[in-house]
């Protein structure tokens, strides 16, 4: 990541490289010790079975610009860091589900709580940046998982991606890598990757 004051963290999955191995999803679940039934990151395949058009890509919370989840939350439990990472406070969340309705990616998930099966506090990808609790405290880890960003590490999913399809980091750095890949291949058009415009605007 560059030492740019305007650093804006974004996810990008290169669907030319994604091989549908699901490693990111497993790594994420293991790193954050997620309960069963919660999958913060998921690999999806588009146009399945259509020759030449079938692509796989990895989706999680995209940490959108003007995040819709943040806009609809009735208890204002979301906060957006200066670097664009969208986080939320599980102690404030009431599990109403509105963020899920607003999300274009189906990212927010709700563990079932107690005998009534009520929705517990929402869980989603934190871009490995934890939550509002003290950084790297036991409480933060239990509620949100690892805070790798605070330790200067790359988020788990991108760190282990075997084909380096999944990239995360400052938006400019990510596009630089993306452009270099297109150039190296010598073919293809530089179209916005899947989900990019939905998450980050045109």
């Amino acid at each position: 990541m560059s030492v740019n004051e305007m650093a804006r963290m974004k996810f990008y999955c290169d669907d030319d490289r994604c091989i549908d191995c699901n490693g990111c999803s497993v790594a994420c679940a293991e790193a954050h010790e997620l309960p069963t039934g919660i999958t913060r990151r998921k690999v999806i395949t588009l146009n399945e079975g259509i020759e030449g058009k079938e692509v796989s890509t990895s989706v999680a919370c995209m940490h959108c610009t003007d995040a819709p989840c943040e806009q609809v939350c009735p208890v204002d439990c979301f906060y957006i860091r200066e670097d664009g990472i969208v986080l939320h406070d599980k102690k404030t969340c009431i599990g109403c589900g509105y963020c899920l309705y607003a999300c274009p990616f189906g990212a927010p998930q709700f563990p079932r709580d107690g005998a009534f099966g009520t929705k517990g506090a929402m869980d989603k990808c934190t871009m490995c940046a934890g939550g509002p609790e003290e950084t790297n405290s036991i409480e933060e880890r239990e509620l949100y998982g690892q805070n790798r960003i605070a330790e200067g590490k790359v988020p788990m999913c991108a760190a282990m991606c075997s084909t380096k399809a999944l990239l995360v980091g400052d938006a400019q750095e990510v596009s630089k890598i993306y452009r270099a890949r297109i150039a190296a291949k010598g073919k293809g058009v530089q179209s916005a990757p899947y989900g990019w415009s939905k998450a980050y605007g045109a």
Partner: protein, 299 residues
Amino acid sequence: MKKYILLLLGSFLLASVAYAADSQIWGEMRVENILAYGKEGSLKLGSLFTMLQSNYFAKIFLAILVGVPSVFLLHYLVIGPKVFSHDGKKIYAFNIFHRIVHQIAAISFIVLVPTGFIMTFGSTFGGGEFVRMMKDLHGLATVTFAIVVIPMFLMWLKNMLPTFDDIKWMMIVGGYLSKVKRPVPAGKFNAGQKAWYWFATLGGMVMILTGAIMYFMDFNIPMINEVTGLSQIDLLRASAILHAVVGFVIVALFFTHIYMAVFAIKGAIHSIITGYKEEEEVKILHSSWYKKLKKEGKV
């Protein structure tokens, strides 16, 4: 035990499939949901919900919360309440069954409305444990309301069908804009009460249904999706929108109902407690019913 009551309430289907089925939101359907979001030619419920929820819903609820009681305060100060003699004869209007059903619905509403407001203005209350508890109470009160909504719908249905009196009643706004006690055209229930009845029962059923959909969230009842033509996630979005819009009307009419029973017609609330209405009150405010009772020799 509580769970058993829940199941009894027709939520049986919802509850059982909620756990058994493959997720309709995060499973295979997720790809379709993502692709459908904001798609040309679709209802664009995702962005519609986001726009309405972030800009309008809370503001409209606040306007109702402040506006409706303000109008009534003004009415009380300018026109004042209707006072009828409580020493005269009484007319039996509500039997024990009516009253019990009404009281269960009343208690449910006394819980449902404030807890709903607390959730709507959740950020003002700081969210967390307190608002979560209000959310659970909102769900529990739904159960008691769901028990009585159908009996209530049926027990008053015959009296609630529209009549010509209703048009006349609406033309003079039930006589509430005048201080003079003139017979008001209305049967056992006036047009205002009828409007409230239809919104409380049919609207109430919409609230129960949309609320239950949001509560159980990830269930799989293909019939609902086929009938509505909506995917599960869009069904949730539509439910959230409907729940708020029908909620506006129900809350506004609920405030009106309380104002009428407690303030605007002095002591009117006693009729649903004892079952008896004051003869003078019936003579003026339900003149058609009074005439009918007189003809039948019941007064």
